[in-house]
Symmetry: C2
Subunit: 199 residues, 2 copies
C-alpha cells in the first residue's frame, strides 16, 4: 500500500507546496523527460540521478512509476493546450493559424516529446484536453477547406494524422530554428514534395 506522509504529484492537492519542494518536482519531471525520451525503459534510479536527487525522493514525490509518467503527461498536456491556445487558431485566417499553431507546438514538442507521446493517459482530464485539441484541429481544417486552402477531397482525419506525423518528424531535427521548421512542415503538408507533373 502507498501510505505517504505528504501529498504526491503536482496538482493532486490544494495544499501549498514549499518552494524547494516545487523545484524538486519540476527538476524530476524535466529529468524524466530527458532520460525517458532517450530510453523509455530507464529506471527510477537513472531518473533520480539525472534530476540530481536521491531515488527515495522521487518515490516520495510520486507514489509509483506510473504516477510519475501520468504527471508528466498531465504537465505536457497543459503546455500543449497552452501552445495551441496562444496561437488563437479560431480568430485568425486558417493559413496564418496553421503556421502559428505549428510553430508553438513544435517548441513544446521538442521539450516534451516523450510525455506528449504518452497522450493516451487514463487520466480523464488529460484525455479531455487531447480530445479538445483534436476537435480544434478538425475545426481549423474545416475552416481551411471552406477557405479553399485545403483540398475538399481529402479526409480530415487523414490530414490531421499527416499533420501530426510531419510535426513529429520535424521535431526530431534538434538543430534547425523553430520558424524554419514550421515553414517546412506547413509547406510540405499543403504542397507535398512533388511538382504536380505527371499526375
Amino acid at each position: 500500500m502507498a501510505t505517504l506522509s505528504y501529498p504526491v504529484g503536482v496538482s493532486e492537492t490544494t495544499r501549498v507546496m514549499r518552494s524547494d519542494a516545487a523545484r524538486t518536482v519540476r527538476a524530476i519531471l524535466e529529468a524524466a523527460e530527458r532520460v525517458l525520451s532517450k530510453n523509455p525503459a530507464a529506471s527510477m534510479e537513472q531518473i533520480a540521478e539525472a534530476a540530481g536527487v536521491a531515488r527515495t525522493t522521487v518515490h516520495r514525490r510520486f507514489a509509483s512509476r506510473e504516477a510519475l509518467v501520468d504527471a508528466m503527461a498531465a504537465w505536457a498536456t497543459r503546455k500543449f493546450a497552452e501552445a495551441v491556445e496562444s496561437a488563437h487558431p479560431e480568430s485568425t485566417p486558417p493559413l496564418v493559424a496553421l503556421y502559428q499553431v505549428t510553430a508553438s507546438v513544435l517548441k513544446v514538442k521538442s521539450d516534451w516529446g516523450f510525455a506528449m507521446s504518452r497522450a493516451l493517459s487514463d487520466d480523464p482530464e488529460v484525455a479531455r484536453v487531447h480530445a479538445d485539441v483534436e476537435e480544434r484541429c478538425d475545426r481549423l481544417f474545416r475552416r481551411a477547406q471552406a477557405a479553399g486552402v485545403l483540398r475538399a477531397d481529402v479526409d480530415t482525419g487523414w490530414a490531421r494524422r499527416v499533420y501530426y506525423a510531419l510535426i513529429h518528424e520535424a521535431a526530431q531535427s534538434r538543430d534547425a530554428e523553430p520558424d524554419a521548421l514550421a515553414t517546412r512542415v506547413v509547406d510540405t503538408l499543403l504542397r507535398g514534395v512533388g511538382t504536380g507533373q505527371g499526375l
Copy 2:
C-alpha cells in the same frame, strides 16, 4: 553464460533444422511481433503464451530476449529488402516505382511493424541492408527529381523522412486495402493536402 545444447536463432548455423523446430521458431517470431507491437515491454512469458509454447522453449531457441529481438529484426529486414527488390525501383519510371515500392513495403510493414522499427540493430548485416535500401530510396528520389516528378528545391533527406512517416501512418490503418493506401500515400507525398491557393 549461454551454453545451449543446440543451435539458436534462425540463420546462425548451416545445420539442418527439423521441420517441427522450424515451425516453432516461426511461430515464436510471429507471436513476438504480435505481442511486442502492442506492448514493447511484454515479457517472454507473454510471447511464449501467444506462440502456444512453453517459456523454456523460447529460451531454448533464443538465448536471450535481445537475441530474439535481433532475430526479429533480421527476419523483417530480409522481408523488407525483398519487398523493395520485387518492385524493381531502378528499372521502371520513377512514379511507377514509387507506387510499387509503397504497396510492397506497406504489406510487410503491416505484418512486421515492431520488428522493422528496430532497424537500428547492432547486427552489421541488418544495418547494411537498411543502408542499402536507404541508398536505393535516395537514388529513386533523385531520378524522380531528374524526371521532374519531384521538386528540385526539397531536401532529399527530408523527402525520404516524410515518405517513411507517411508509410508508417498508413500502416496503422489495418482495415483499408493495401493498394488504396499506397495511392493515398503517394498522392499525399507528391501533392500534399492543400489546393495550392494562397501560397
